[in-house]
Symmetry: C2
Subunit: 124 residues, 2 copies
């Protein structure tokens, strides 16, 4: 069973998007694997203090991307193969790192200045 701690979600943007990203990052990090059981909409709703409809919206998006499978009445499961995981890994890196690079460029930092600053701020 995948565990969602009470609001790891401190990102930006809509909550359902944050949940989708949280799951994808969990997959890439190996915390979530093929065959894992998703918490029910109601349970996750209570855990995160978020409306069931919002959870359903996130789950629907995950299903549309082929990451989970839902059958009416039964529990929902994670469905993954190595290719999918790799695709998600690249999508996340592209998004997270790409956004920062374009922000730092807009701030006038060169590649070397940027890398130096990141290295200094990332103290594990």
């Amino acid at each position: 069973m995948i565990t969602f701690e009470k609001f790891t979600m401190d990102d930006s943007g809509p909550i359902y998007g944050q949940i989708v990203r949280y799951v994808k990052r969990g997959i890439v990090a190996g915390r979530i694997e093929n065959g894992d059981e998703m918490p029910s909409r109601r349970v996750l709703s209570a855990t995160l203090g978020v409306n069931p409809n919002t959870i359903q919206k996130a789950y629907r998006m995950l299903e549309d991307e082929g990451i989970i499978q839902s059958h009416a009445g039964a529990k929902s499961y994670v469905v993954l193969d190595e290719a999918k995981v790799e695709a998600i890994r690249e999508e996340l890196a592209e998004n997270d790192i790409g956004a920062m690079i374009s922000a730092l460029k807009q701030s006038g930092l060169t590649r070397e200045e940027g890398l130096e600053l990141i290295g200094r701020l990332w103290k594990e």
Copy 2:
């Protein structure tokens, strides 16, 4: 006169926030300096294709942070000293880089893996 190209604003979140960030990045990058004249609300509204009220909200925030000055009827001007610029520089780095680091950590990357990947994706 500060120039806003037709939608450099492809960020996320409210438009007024994007405008505020755009100005701050311009300041840090040296594109915007003390004494610079801001485009009028109406002009920027037309340039960006955004409602005047939304522009006014952004300008109000900039004024509240002491970055611009507005006097009813007259044009608005940028007001900066070196200390302010440095404060903005640190705020932006903290935000942009901090967000990415916490995202990459959540994806399970170590500091070394992260820095290596960023270096590879940032091809100037």
